[in-house]
């Protein structure tokens, strides 16, 4: 069975490599001049790295989910081709980060085989997570990008701590809720027809709410705030099964968001632009409008790889601002059409399905909540940015996982994937054992 699982993974990697080669070939063909076998070379490199990772997984996590890694590799390959098409040098960075991501992926698997250890340090992890979030506001290292405080720069090293913080917060919540879910359910009482959780245990959760509100004020990023809080609510719901808790949480968030949206100028602007982008089409509304215009130009099948316009020809002025990060999805719709975009969303959906499957299979509460939280925060991140560029919600500067250009994003998400595979490996191994052969741990 073990080799069967990994063989499926290996097989699933083949179409990934083919797609990557085809993609590079398409970009090369576009730039006629340099059409050669270089595209195949790139495809081969990528495949070699993937196969190495596969062999590592074969040795370390033989029972882990066989589809997650190929799906992620597919997204990464796709992202690399898109970024390559935008700017060759950016693609080289991204490829380096991809390798760095895989190194951290391997290290995580190596040193966190017994991931229960995370539970022991949950408060430390929570504090680290919060500090990471607030770091961009620290004088000297913090960086402001487009009005939001998302970056940190220490010497030559620049990164976006929110990407790593989300993993810390999910680990903390999974651990905390595993321990307190019983009392949250049992201790709940009905007040005026609404089921309220017991105040004593609610404290830390209110801290999470407070933290996400603080994010609105301090780092001024509605997207990250939304992503964190939604992941929190998802975990709270799964842990307690009480929809009323979620409803209360949502109400609190909306009240908070409304309050800060009307008082914090940057957040306020984002909402205004979202509601009426045509108010200032060449100023504040430019990015979202160009994002939508780019999609309108894509149609069903798109304009073809490398055919879309990113800058205004003859100038360096952006026609699709932040095409390699925020609006990369719009570029995908522009060049590959509605069908291509549906394909991308389908891959995210498949990853979510595999992630939740791991949570279902997992035996103990912490594993279940951890897998759920990681999958939820990943899916919601994809929703927040795609929703942003399609005007479902206000546009914010969150990355599209594994596709957008950005080292922090790709490295952090590979760590997230490593944790998911760790949970999966244990869950599937235990599920494969005859019932009763192993004492059940947890509940």
């Amino acid at each position: 069975m073990r080799s069967g699982v990994r063989n499926r993974e290996l097989l699933a990697l083949v179409p990934v490599a083919l797609l990557l080669s085809a993609g590079f070939a398409a970009v090369f063909a576009q730039e006629n001049a340099r059409l050669g076998n270089l595209s195949l070379v790139y495809g081969a490199y990528f495949l070699a790295v993937c196969v190495a990772t596969h062999i590592y997984l074969r040795l370390r996590l033989p029972d882990a989910d066989p589809y997650l890694f190929p799906l992620v590799a597919l997204l990464t390959a796709f992202g690399l081709v898109m970024i390559y098409r935008i700017d060759e040098s950016l693609a080289r960075d991204q490829a380096n980060w991809f390798v760095l991501g895989l190194v951290l992926f391997a290290l995580t698997i190596q040193f966190l085989r017994d991931y229960d250890v995370l539970e022991r340090y949950r408060y430390t992890i929570a504090v680290v997570g919060l500090l990471l979030l607030l770091a961009p506001r620290l004088p000297g290292i913090g960086q402001q990008v487009n009005g939001a405080y998302l970056g940190v720069k220490i010497g030559p090293l620049a990164f976006q701590p929110a990407e790593f913080s989300k993993i810390c917060i999910v680990v903390f919540l999974a651990s905390y809720l595993r321990e307190h879910r019983e009392v949250l359910i049992v201790g709940a009482r009905r007040v005026l027809g609404v089921t309220l959780p017991p105040l004593k245990h609610l404290g830390p959760l209110l801290v999470v709410w407070g933290a996400s509100m603080l994010m609105l004020v301090f780092i001024r990023d509605l997207g990250s705030s939304l992503m964190f809080f939604a992941a929190f609510l998802a975990l709270l719901y799964v842990a307690t099964g009480r929809f009323s808790f979620v409803a209360i949480g949502m109400a609190l968030f909306l009240v908070g968001a409304w309050f800060f949206a009307s008082t914090v100028p940057h957040v306020h602007d984002r909402v205004e632009i979202w509601l009426d982008p045509y108010h200032d089409p060449i100023g504040s509304g430019y990015q979202i409008l160009q994002s939508i215009f780019a999609q309108a130009d894509g149609g069903l099948f798109g304009k073809g790889f490398g055919q879309g316009l990113i800058t205004i020809p003859g100038t360096h002025a952006a026609l699709l601002p932040a095409a390699q990060t925020d609006t990369i999805y719009s570029l995908i719709v522009n060049e590959l059409g509605l069908f291509g975009a549906c394909g991308v969303i389908l891959i995210y959906l498949l990853i979510a399905a595999r992630g939740f499957k791991i949570a279902l299979l997992a035996d103990d509460g912490f594993s279940k909540l951890l897998a759920t939280g990681l999958t939820a925060v990943f899916s919601i991140q994809a929703f927040v940015i795609i929703g942003g560029v399609t005007r479902v919600i206000p546009l914010t500067g969150v990355t599209l996982p594994f596709i957008s250009y950005g080292g922090s994003s790709i490295v952090a998400n590979f760590v997230l994937l490593a944790l998911l595979l760790l949970v999966s490996d244990r869950a599937r191994r235990e599920a494969a054992l005859p019932r009763g052969a192993l004492a059940m741990e947890g509940t």
Binding site: Y237, G304, A341, A359, L360, T372
Partner: protein, 486 residues
């Protein structure tokens, strides 16, 4: 907890479905509206990236081409017109911001290389960039040059020359013209120039009183309907009383009973006025329709840039049942307004034995690989008159040039058939309101026995007569084409 996990997954599915819904809305359902938004410059910028095909004269002279600016992804194309104002009409212009006009507009699809959805997907897969097709026209550069330089000497006006057998348009000149290369810089200035109206293609949009050239149509209706024969005589006094107003011949000359040949040769008003009354409005309108009057000519130019010819009241075409003065219509007066193109078609139909071919400027479409993908197949627009009527009219029109009012159109050694026209346009605002202003015309074809070219030439706001200013233009252009065609 498993139940909740499944429900949470359900929520994620719903959220992603919302994303697909919004993406579909922007990319497909609302796409057209978005493309038309003022703030959306994408369609314009994309148009700039396509290498538009060239437009060539019959001999291969380049009339319009696109030149690249910038490199790689920032490459864009700008239209150039090497011959400048010579082909301002009918080629028109094509610029991203100013739009397209005339031939450039009509043939836009071919010139930008639009193809079906399926083949464009195949092209994408092969990594092929969209590239336009070249179009070769029927225009004869030498004749076009002669026409425009003659017009520049004579005054504002137009010349249209058509090959009768095929409908190929050899010359389409309008004076004053404009240099299309200047359009990006001074379009509004050109638009506001109401004295010269350089953007107005007088060949297809100039609506002028036809004067005596219309007698050819009246004669065609009379002969072909059997109302008269070449032998029929009508008494032509110096003056007639029509609807309470005197209708006179030039110098009130009285001719007595004469046949068509004599009447046409001397352009006798009282003769044709009576013929018009004999033919009647019903039949005359029928023949006008057959010649293409009362509808937009079927030339390959945008429909809103080609005007119909007919009897107009307040910008509206009058029909056969409207009250009109048929005697004055018959001699080209009344509220008749015709385009030079329409009068060239009348001449071409007679020249072609009574068969009117669709006038076409384009000749063939050549794809970027040099293959001819489409070739003009001459087709008949209508058959206004029989062969015999055409022959009888030709004989009468030969008399006009050999011994009548149009002697200046004569070409040594070549039999020419034609008809002059001089419509009085006194106190016309566009002519500056002078009392002596005329619209001078000449329509005809040559050689009369085996016509190679049919031409209408007209000059507006001139004190001269058709034979003085329009006939020489006809002669020069016809001679040039006959020499070129060998």
């Amino acid at each position: 907890m498993n139940r909740q996990i499944v429900k949470l997954f359900g929520l994620i599915v719903v959220l992603f479905a919302v994303l697909i819904g919004f993406t579909s809305y922007w990319s497909v359902f609302d796409a057209q509206a978005l493309k038309e938004k003022e703030a959306n410059k994408r369609p314009l910028l994309e148009q700039q990236q396509i290498k538009r095909g060239r437009i060539l004269a019959a001999d291969g002279t380049v009339l319009a081409r696109s030149v690249a600016k910038g490199h790689g992804a920032s490459r864009r194309y700008v239209r150039r017109y090497p011959e400048g104002a010579l082909y301002g009409h009918p080629i028109g212009y094509s610029f991203v911001r100013q739009g397209n006009s005339e031939f450039e507009q009509y043939h836009d699809g071919e010139l930008v290389g639009n193809s079906s959805e399926l083949s464009s997907i195949l092209d994408q897969l092969r990594g092929k960039r969209q590239e336009g097709n070249d179009i070769v026209t029927n225009i004869e550069p030498e004749a076009q040059r002669v026409a425009l330089s003659d017009l520049k000497e004579a005054g504002f006006g137009a010349v249209v020359a058509i090959e009768p057998r095929s409908g190929r348009v050899r010359v389409l000149a309008s004076n004053p013209s404009y240099d299309p290369n200047r359009v990006p810089f001074e379009l509004s200035k050109l638009n506001e120039n109401e004295v010269e109206s350089p953007l107005l293609d007088r060949a297809t949009q100039g609506q002028y009183p036809p004067g005596s050239t219309f007698k050819v149509v009246t004669a065609a209706a009379g002969l072909d309907s059997g109302t008269i024969t070449p032998e029929t005589t009508i008494d032509a006094p110096g003056e007639l009383d029509v609807q309470g107003q005197p209708l006179q011949n030039d110098f009130t000359a009285s001719f007595g009973p004469i046949t068509l040949d004599t009447a046409l040769t001397n352009s006798v008003n009282t003769w044709f006025a009576q013929l018009g009354e004999q033919v009647g409005p019903e039949t005359l309108f029928e023949y006008m329709d057959r010649f293409g009057f009362n509808s937009t000519p079927a030339i390959d130019l945008p429909e809103d840039q080609v005007y119909a010819s007919g009897i107009f009241e307040g910008g509206q075409l009058l029909g056969r049942n409207d009250p009109i003065d048929i005697a004055r219509v018959a001699i080209g007066q009344e509220r008749l307004a015709v385009t030079p193109l329409q009068m060239a078609e009348v001449a071409a139909a007679i020249a072609n034995g009574g068969s009117l071919m669709k006038p076409q400027i384009w000749s063939r479409v050549v794809d970027p690989d040099g293959r001819v993908t489409k070739r003009l197949e001459p087709s008949q627009y209508s058959r206004p008159i029989g062969k015999q009527t055409a022959a009888e009219l030709t004989t009468a029109m030969e008399g006009v040039v050999s011994e009548g009012t149009g002697t200046n159109a004569a070409i040594p050694g070549v039999a020419v058939a034609g008809k002059t026209g001089t419509a009085e346009t006194p106190f016309n605002a566009t002519c500056g309101g002078g009392a002596e202003e005329n619209q001078a015309w000449f329509i005809g074809f040559a050689p009369a026995d085996e016509p190679k070219i049919a031409i209408a030439a007209t000059v507006e706001c001139t004190t001269a007569f058709g034979n003085d200013v329009a006939a020489p233009i006809f002669r020069d252009v016809a001679e040039t084409i006959l020499n070129e065609g060998g």
